[in-house]
């Protein structure tokens, strides 16, 4: 046999590696079975469901006000978005009108939460790639946002703030100066992170041309949010299907065309800048008036079905609600952004190395409360 044939015959075996549910960098309970040829991944089988808590089934046995705390716990890093999603769906079906001040307060809450969620993403992704310092810097900034959200709602992670008809409480007087101060100082911190991480050559070597998601694949897999926008699709629900007075605000949608991990990084950094702008505009233009419409505690929603989606930090968080006229929903389906984004993982990691797999997973920013519900 020729030497080439001999080498081909004695090919080394491919190994199945289990990046198990407990792993420092799978961002939650996620299991990936990777078939490895040396360092290169040839096949990937993701296994999810380790955080499934039956939220949708529980919702079938709860009255609407009781469902809202459960939605906090699906995408727990962007909980305001979860609240907003279910509130919009029920308000659409029940015909509840939200006063303007309530809408603006919702926008402030969701955008602040978006910044907080992206800070967690940035910190933990950096940690996966080996930098431990931006993690602490991001959490320090996030602490300020959490204090602001705590002032608004009374809790730091599971807010239960956005309720049917508006928001729960008005803002305290000490919120305004503190929020303004945060909005002043935060953009310079973002520039610091860009200096520390984004411009760093090693970081760019780890993220450029890694995990390229083409535009066609992104659309066909149903990805959403920053993952979709980094592949060149200009689709942001805040602009395409405005809800809760987003059309009153002037902001840009972050889009990139390369579709690699670095593009997703740039899109999310830009989104943080834009969120700061939105909160600034909302604070400046906060109208007077009631913060919420009166909704009875054990209200019934008329029969019908509705799908309503919002642009959460991770993408399109949609609620499909089927009501049979009682005070409990007949079916509440949550269209989770992270679940659809996670579907591209087997496609993206083929041909990449293990280190890249970690980088890709981090750049997709999955939250497993959202994936498994």
């Amino acid at each position: 046999m020729s030497p080439l044939e001999i080498v081909r015959e004695e090919e080394t075996d491919q190994v199945w590696l289990n990046m198990g549910p407990q792993h420092p960098s799978t961002h939650g309970v996620f299991r990936m079975l990777l078939k490895l040829d040396g360092e290169v991944i040839t096949e990937c089988k993701p296994v999810i469901g380790y955080l499934h808590r039956g939220t949708e089934k529980i919702a079938e046995n709860r009255m609407y006000f009781q469902i809202v705390p459960y939605t906090d716990r699906t995408d727990y890093l962007a909980a305001m978005g979860g609240n907003l999603g279910v509130c919009l769906a029920v308000e659409k079906l029940a015909g509840i009108e939200v006063p303007k001040r309530g809408q603006y307060l919702r926008v402030i809450a969701v955008e602040l939460n978006r910044i907080a969620s992206h800070l967690v993403w940035l910190g933990t992704w950096g940690l996966d790639l080996g930098v431990m310092t931006p993690f602490l810097y991001c959490f320090r900034e996030r602490e300020e946002i959490l204090k602001l959200l705590e002032m608004m709602s009374g809790a730091r992670l599971t807010y239960n703030y956005i309720q049917f008809g508006g928001v729960r409480d008005d803002l305290l007087p000490e919120f305004y100066p503190r929020c303004r101060e945060f909005l002043q100082t935060f953009p310079s911190k973002l520039d610091e992170y860009q200096n520390l991480l984004g411009n760093n050559d090693i970081f760019q070597m780890r993220t450029r041309r890694i995990g390229i998601l083409t535009r066609e694949k992104a659309i066909s897999y149903g990805t959403c949010g920053p993952v979709l926008r980094a592949s060149g699709v200009n689709y942001d629900l805040r602009k395409n299907q405005p809800y809760s007075s987003y059309s009153d605000f002037d902001f840009e949608v972050a889009v990139a065309t390369e579709g690699d991990c670095y593009a997703r990084y740039r899109v999310r950094m830009k989104e943080m800048h834009e969120s700061v702008k939105i909160v600034q505009q909302a604070l400046d233009g906060l109208p007077e008036g009631p913060t919420n419409a009166k909704v009875p505690w054990f209200f019934k929603v008329p029969k019908g079905e509705v799908y309503s989606a919002i642009e959460n930090a991770r993408g399109e968080y949609g609620i499909y609600l089927v009501s049979d006229g009682t005070s409990k929903p007949y079916r509440l389906k949550i269209r989770a952004a992270s679940f659809c984004n996670l579907c591209v993982v087997p496609e993206l990691v083929k041909g990449m190395k293990i280190a890249d797999c970690v980088a890709i997973l981090g750049s997709l920013d999955p939250v497993f409360g959202d994936v498994d519900r």
Binding site: H23, P24, G126, G130, M132, L197, I202, M205, A355, D356
Partner: protein
């Protein structure tokens, strides 16, 4: 007191002398390794806007002792189908190569344990022993993760030894000798970092790579392979690997200062440093302490300057760890072979030319 100690010392048989020196040096090495973990945690914390350990003892100074106690009382686990002899021996091999390098570390003027003719070559030889230890650890653990980590680590260590050797050759060319004390003495003209800046950078980078520290810490990357070749190790065995890594941080810093930053030479001009030395001796004599042992550590003498520079270099290593992300394996190897190795050869050419110029002005 020093006089009495010295007279006693001369009466000991040589074997006892060597044994005592060995125990002292091993103790010092262990202490350095342990307290470097403490300093790293504090420095990293300060960079990250937080306070490091501060509960165990005043300012957290007893933290390494607490860590040691914790590791000692852990269960001694040897995996079932592991190669028991290799598994048990591996940490000691790695730690030994660290201690062996302490032989030629120049702590001060005339304070080298063994001033070998071939000091540089000895250094490179001994730092290659780590490779064997890591291979033993990875293989004997009977674990896929460990083997992967060990393989990566070996590839990395072996590739980065070449540029390190070339950089040191540059130093040897300038100094005209392989002996560490002579290299330091030649730096009285000018510290070698100035003519050999490229060599300094190369030696620093390869030194960081040799010790498996960020940005080259892929073998022990927590986020990927759990803990690389140390996955199956627990308790004091893991503690030894950890201590060996921090000891090698000290060693790399010690040799960076010895070869490039002038070792124990004072950075100040000679009259000024002499004046400082006289001043402190005078102050101590006034206090009546000149005969005892401890104040010799406080004088502006060679040991002081050496430790000052080593601390600066160690701080640099911690600073780099806090800032830079990790290289991927193939990028790491590409960096070593495609960038560092050609650069180190270029450095050798430059060093050769400089050596010629040097010998014109300072013929020996």
């Amino acid at each position: 007191m020093i006089q009495t100690l010295q007279t006693y010392w001369k009466t000991f048989p040589p074997l006892l002398q060597y044994l005592i020196i060995f125990v002292i040096i091993s103790g010092v090495a262990g202490g350095i390794a342990a307290y470097l973990t403490y300093f790293e945690r504090k420095v990293l914390a300060a960079i990250q806007s937080r306070i490091g350990p501060n509960r165990v003892g005043r300012y957290g100074l007893l933290q390494p002792i607490a860590d040691l106690m914790k590791l000692l009382q852990k269960e001694d686990i040897v995996p079932l189908r592991a190669d028991a002899v290799l598994f048990r021996a591996a940490p000691y091999v790695v730690f030994t190569s660290g201690i062996l390098s302490l032989v030629i570390v120049p702590f001060g003027k005339g304070l080298i344990a063994g001033d070998l003719h071939i000091g540089l070559v000895y250094l490179i030889a001994v730092s290659s022993l780590t490779v064997i230890g890591i291979f033993m650890a990875g293989w004997a653990s009977n674990n896929k993760y460990s083997l992967y980590g060990a393989m990566r680590s070996i590839a990395q260590l072996v590739s980065y030894e070449l540029p390190m050797g070339f950089a040191l050759l540059g130093v040897a060319a300038l100094a005209g000798s392989l002996r560490v004390s002579e290299i330091i003495e030649k730096q009285q003209v000018i510290w070698f970092i100035v003519p050999q800046f490229l060599g300094f950078l190369i030696f620093l980078i390869t030194g960081i790579a040799e010790t498996n520290r960020t940005p080259f810490d892929l073998p022990e990357a927590e986020s990927e392979l759990v803990a690389g070749f140390t996955t199956e190790y627990s308790g004091i065995r893991f503690g030894l690997f950890f201590a060996a890594e921090y000891l090698s941080v000290f060693i790399v810093s010690a040799f960076v200062t010895a070869f490039y930053l002038g070792g124990w030479l004072s950075p100040l001009p000679l009259p000024l440093s002499q004046a400082l030395l006289n001043l402190t001796t005078q102050v101590l004599a006034n206090m009546g302490l000149e005969k005892s042992f401890l104040p010799t550590l406080l004088l502006f003498n060679s040991m002081f300057w050496f430790f000052l520079k080593v601390s600066a270099c160690i701080f640099l290593l911690f600073w780099v760890r806090a800032t830079l992300p990790r290289f991927r394996v193939d990028q790491l190897m590409g960096f070593a072979w495609k960038i560092l190795l050609p650069l180190s050869m270029l450095n050798l050419v430059i060093a050769g030319l400089e050596g010629i110029v040097w010998n014109l002005f300072y013929p020996t």
